[in-house]
């Protein structure tokens, strides 16, 4: 999932962390990682699998939208 890193370069607001799930079982459990890639944005929006750029952006915007 390279979109996250490219988004981090595009905006000072965005931080992207790629996590090797098997090396961090506790973290993976905490975020209920069942399948990969799994994306979690602001601990609020999550999805599994590769998605097109537009959908990824949609998830980012959803994560910062007022509740």
């Amino acid at each position: 999932m390279r979109l996250a890193q490219h988004m981090a370069v595009a905006s000072e607001r965005v931080r992207a962390t790629a996590i090797e799930a098997t090396e961090f079982p506790e973290l993976s459990r905490a975020y209920q990682v069942m399948g990969v890639p799994k994306v979690v944005i602001n601990d609020r929006v999550q999805f599994e699998g590769a998605v097109p750029e537009q959908d990824f952006l949609g998830a980012v915007l959803q994560a910062v939208a007022p509740a």
Binding site: S11, I19, V39, E53, V60
Partner: protein
């Protein structure tokens, strides 16, 4: 020829070719903590050093979060081994764990985009991201295969 090298000659040739796209300097900051995950941290550090030999635009800094606290703190890295990829600014790109397989290509791609500062995103996406009024933290979990 280093018998203990992690990267094969084929890997090195492929990465050198990719690194022809590099334009600006990139710093790879490695976070290692012997007491927490000694073997993994040593392997991670070795991998990053091997990658850094493939372009003169790359530099490596190694930090121990428990010792180099002041230097490490701004990165907000709470796991080891970890890598931060920095270009013209601190882009907030982090890798937790040894980047192998898919994550290795992701690391190489991140080094290139940090170097050029030109994300492969549509103008619409870039405009939306630049208009963000809040911080966004993206975590991507993956496995080597």
């Amino acid at each position: 020829m280093n018998a203990m090298a992690i990267l094969t000659e084929r890997d090195r040739t492929a990465v050198r070719k990719e690194f022809e796209k590099l334009t600006g300097p990139v710093k790879l900051v490695v976070f290692s903590q012997e007491l927490v995950a000694g073997d993994l941290c040593r392997q991670n550090e070795q991998l990053v050093r091997e990658v850094a030999t493939l372009s003169d635009k790359l530099t490596v800094e190694v930090l121990n979060p428990a010792i180099d606290r002041e230097r490490a703190e701004p990165y907000r890295v709470d796991q080891v081994p970890a890598i931060a990829v920095e270009g013209a600014r601190a882009y907030g790109i982090r890798f937790y764990g040894i980047p192998s397989g898919y994550e290795f290509s992701n690391l190489i791609d991140s080094i290139i985009v940090a170097s050029t500062g030109e994300p492969a995103l549509s103008e619409e996406t870039k405009a939306s991201l630049q208009a963000l009024a809040e911080d966004v933290d993206i975590k991507v979990f993956s496995t080597p295969t």
